[in-house]
């Protein structure tokens, strides 16, 4: 006899509790989402500034600030995927100028034949066709074996391996000598760990050649325009 009443009672309590929990949940969500949103608002400019600093720091590693006086971030163009640079995606290229005159190009490149796949590079090439410097930005080389291409991991802190490319161009090192010693070239490699060094060396050589070839065209393009590959 009392059963239907009980069920009805239970039904109402289910509804009541559901509504109550939903309401409380809503209240908490509103308060704390607002809190998060507020924090975001406050820190937004600072975070953006940090991100910019980070980018400039990376570029600064290959292109010392003294080499240019323009707003590097604004004077950039987009590259279509460049096979010669080992790239399968669009990248940015920054143009450094000093006193309005072209000074250097900062571009990205990649070596696909590392021991464990792709090695990403950033490098700066000055207007005379010398490589100012290059850095590895991402790689998966075996720790302790091939990762000396990254100066942070290189045990030789005073003169990391990657710095031997600085200020060299095809005038000082002929293009066919732009190889590791093992392959009869000019650059050192760690014995027992040739593969990573060879990949970086070859990729940088290709990138340098590409930059020298397209230098004038690249400087001539308006800012924020797009560079399409003209020939294979």
């Amino acid at each position: 006899m009392s059963e239907p009443i009980e069920i009805a009672h239970r039904e109402s309590s289910v509804l009541r509790i559901s509504v109550r929990t939903a309401a409380i949940m809503l209240a908490f969500t509103l308060v704390f989402t607002a809190l998060m949103a507020g924090t975001y608002r406050v820190t937004e400019p600072l975070v953006a500034a940090s991100a910019l600093t980070e980018k400039l720091r990376l570029i600064g590693e290959v292109l010392p600030p003294g080499h240019y006086d323009n707003d590097l971030m604004a004077d950039a163009i987009t590259l279509s995927p460049q096979k010669a640079l080992g790239l399968n995606e669009e990248t940015r290229l920054w143009r450094a100028r000093k006193g309005g005159e072209p000074a250097a190009l900062v571009l990205e490149a990649a070596a696909l034949d590392g021991y464990s796949g792709r090695i990403s590079l950033i490098l700066a090439v000055d207007v005379e066709g010398h490589m100012l410097a290059q850095r590895v930005t991402a790689h998966k080389e075996t720790p302790g074996l091939g990762d000396y291409i990254d100066p942070k991991k290189d045990r030789n802190k005073t003169r990391p391996w990657i710095t031997q490319f600085s200020n060299l161009g095809f005038d000082t090192v002929p293009q066919k000598k732009w190889k590791v010693k093992k392959d009869g070239g000019r650059f050192d490699q760690m014995s027992g760990a040739t593969i990573s060094a060879r990949a970086v060396t070859n990729a940088s050589g290709r990138a340098l050649a590409w930059a020298v070839e397209h230098r004038d065209k690249l400087f001539a393009l308006p800012a924020n325009s797009r560079f399409e590959e003209s020939k294979p």
């Binding site: 939903a22 949940m25 809503l26």
Partner: protein, 187 residues
Amino acid sequence: MFEAILVMALGAVVLGAALGYAAVRFRVEGDPLVEKIDAILPQTQCGQCGFPGCKPYAQAIAKGEADINCCPPGGDEGIHKLADLLGREFKSLSAEHGIEKPKSVAVIDEQRCIGCTLCIQACPVDAIVGAAKQMHTVVAPQCTGCELCLPPCPVDCISMQPIGESVETWKWKYPVFKINPTQREAA
């Protein structure tokens, strides 16, 4: 940002309602933990733990009101099992609750028994048979050795006798190898 809050709010309402509904609808009755604990306890129903029987002690453990080391008949092994079940650390037997004794059964000295039935009332497992003014006796296989019949007996005619080993209940010992049995004794 307004959008973000809206999405969050919507999610909150749905989630809150669903959880509230589920909490009522799928409420589990009873406490299986008590059964599990009770299964480990030795069922002597002796009350040495301070609770009137094994089940109440199991309930107390499940509620966190009693510690796991209050059961002397269960011994260290029982405490280990409880510790494993409850994910707690092992503790040695709490001394205030008694010591682990060899398993025993109660025996009524039939010469002295006056047939008062007090022990029959005290026995938690009805293992004593007899009637008023008749001699009582303990059904040994059913006796848990809880000793609860000892205090009520007005003539102290009940004693606990350890269960001895027989050829049938003898257990092979853990094989521990002695590296150097002395020649003299072995000969």
